[in-house]
Symmetry: C2
Subunit: 414 residues, 2 copies
């Protein structure tokens, strides 16, 4: 059912990438701006998120209230998020409203008011998001694990730090906006029902005169310690283990990804079976792949009662060691079946596709159709994955625990 | 784009209702079994959920492990939930796998093993769900509000009670299964890509010999007190206000629903504007419609700092009083725009449609196409909604607060 993906690079560097899904009545876009939290200044953790929050409080000819009313009038379902590399503005709508939605977001991205009188209201929203993480030990743990696995600034949390959020002023927000909102490095992914020529013209009119800006440099620091325990008063212990892996653009990516799928994809996967089903050690256990442009990681999580935490950790480390010995044909078959379903579901969602093609472009400089992804996955074999695993056994683990007491990190480390 | 909805009632009472979406490659079903938590025995709150959890641990020729592997092999994305009236089994998949998925779930629904040796594992899952609610004050509050707004057993929480969950044994589960899993009262909603004749034959083969069972009777008790404060050590106060409204099958339903949409739908709605935007009283405030078959309610929520809780409550009650005075044309226009978008998105999702048509059948004895729903919404006018509101002003409030101190419930009560 899928049609070819279209793209256009404007002279200021902005990339438009679009997938026609002409059988839909909806359209969606994902606008990636290179304003990720890796660019937060050292004592201003959370500034990218704060800037995004403020950009939504009036832009162009609209004040904050008019902005909300106009979006509601168009029936636009929007969301924003901040990752290490990007601030992302996403919206889904009736196809006929796509041009007007792009007009509104051109104001948000290029001409936000960043109004001083709303900075305290914006700060409260940021505090709320930070608190939501603090109240959720599992999420808190994974944030601390990512922070230690990657060298700074690659592992920073987008929520920022309480202290930094308290001190951020409107000039910080405005400086950050000027420094990081720029067309070179921005990618606009569109999917759904649209006319390509009209879309390209609209985007040209709205963004062609957006001036290219300097790319800020980032300095890499060292990563965190290999094991850290964070004291937390609870009878549960949260366990996180991370190890390095290849990024999405690496030719071996799908081999590495397939191995993680066998470890933790679906309920018949190894971690769930060994840790939860066979031993009843915990309620939740999983591993997931995370990729930046130039490096990646596998992040494992388990939450268990404190008295069974050591056993849980040992079993996970043993499973990671066993993964290096290879996977079996029927495990790979199940993975392929699950992924084939997931790809078809994604093909039916304009929001999911707009986000996928924008992210593809960031990582690869082009977008893959779902047909291409399916071929890559069909091409995986036990032999190819096992060859990869033999050369790249899980190891060099970073471990973080959160709970009443430290654990012993031993067996399974390669 | 929508096609007519098909249906068939089998002689044992089971209803199959199906919406063809032939442009999709996926299919989804929602199987409503009349095993809702209203049927939990008095000292066994949570038994419906527990029975559902146990039904997934092996059925027909499959043990618990085989069940999981077979679902993964078919790439089935499944979920279960328990409401007041139903236990619901939902699954989405590639269209070609629909017949095999139905086969698996026919075993779950008719021939579960309910294995004694897994009851402790099942109990842990139930505890975990209960704890998830206890850890989330906003959710906890809304559960307590619903319990007091509706006369028992209509307001019970599906998560049950700690004490009851501790004492449930395998015989309780088996009795409950025999009593509540039956074809009369069951509704199977299917949406997506399928062949109607083949589907009807498959369902007949799997379910036609499922014997009709007696319908258990329920005894209604009285509702809770009109105001209750629950002490909770926090500097936040959670506020919940409910008032009675008509159920989905009432001819006035869309008038009542439209009024609630003006109160709390989208970011430009009244509650968000008055409570959060203008006064900055709290981070989150909303109202939502809830409907059982024979009665409904509007449930309002706000979370605020304890020192501003009284003002938050007063402003919400004032907004409820003001609602009775009527809504304005531009508020209704915005609501219609938002809903039109939402309906189109729903039309693109087989999962959403399978669930909607099954629930429609429960409430109405037939399913509405999205085209019909759109017409009903187009037919709403300020005049019709205001006439309804004049005759049915919000009132007879039930209020629950959760936080460090009681509040004064006064103004706005009609």
């Amino acid at each position: 059912m899928s049609e070819p993906i279209l793209s256009h690079r404007f002279s200021n560097g902005l990339v438009l990438v679009a997938e026609p899904m002409s059988w839909l009545e909806s359209a969606a876009f994902t606008f990636l701006v290179p304003a990720g939290c890796a660019h937060d200044p050292d004592a201003r953790g959370g500034l990218s998120g704060f800037t995004c929050e403020m950009a939504l409080r009036g832009a162009g000819s609209r004040d904050s209230r008019r902005f909300i009313i106009d979006l509601d009038n168009l029936g636009i379902d929007r969301s924003e998020s901040v990752s290490n590399a990007h601030t992302s503005f996403s919206a889904a709508m009736l196809a006929e409203n796509l041009p007007r939605a792009l007009e509104i977001f051109a104001d948000v991205i290029r001409r936000p008011h960043l109004p001083e009188e709303q900075i305290e209201a914006g700060r409260q929203v940021m505090f709320q998001e930070l608190r939501a993480v603090e109240d959720e030990p599992a999420q808190k743990l994974m944030i601390e694990l990512r922070r230690r696995h990657y060298p700074d600034p690659w592992g920073r949390p987008s929520q920022g730090e309480q202290k930094a959020l308290e001190t951020i002023g409107i000039e910080d927000v405005r400086d950050h906006f000027r420094r990081t909102y720029r067309p070179n490095g921005s990618i606009l992914g569109v999917a759904g029902h649209f006319d390509w020529q009209r879309l390209k013209d609209d985007v040209a009119r709205l963004f062609d005169d957006w001036p290219t800006a300097e790319v800020p440099t980032l300095t890499e620091k060292s990563a965190g310690p290999k094991y850290e325990h964070l004291d937390y008063d609870s009878n549960q212990t949260q366990i996180g283990i991370a190890y390095p892996s290849v990024p999405y653009r690496d030719p071996d990516y799908f081999q590495a990804w397939g191995a993680v799928g066998v470890l933790s994809g679906g309920m018949s996967a190894r971690l769930f079976t060994e840790v939860r089903e066979r031993r009843g050690l915990c309620y939740s256990v999983h591993a997931s792949y995370h990729t930046l442009r130039d490096r990646g990681g596998v992040f494992c999580y388990a939450g268990s009662s404190a008295d069974r935490a050591q056993e849980t950790l040992d079993v996970i480390l043993a499973e990671l060691a066993r993964l290096a010995e290879g996977i079996e044909a029927e495990e790979l078959d199940r993975l392929k079946a699950r992924i084939k379903s997931a790809l078809v579901m994604q093909q039916e969602s304009s929001s999911a596709r707009s986000s996928s093609i924008a992210r593809d472009w960031y990582h690869l400089g082009r977008a893959r159709t779902l047909g291409e992804v399916e071929e890559l996955i069909d091409g995986l074999s036990c032999r190819s994955i096992n060859a990869y695993l033999a050369g790249h056994p899980p190891g060099d683990f970073t471990t973080v625990t959160l709970g009443p007491g430290r654990l012993e990190v031993s067996g399974g480390v390669s």
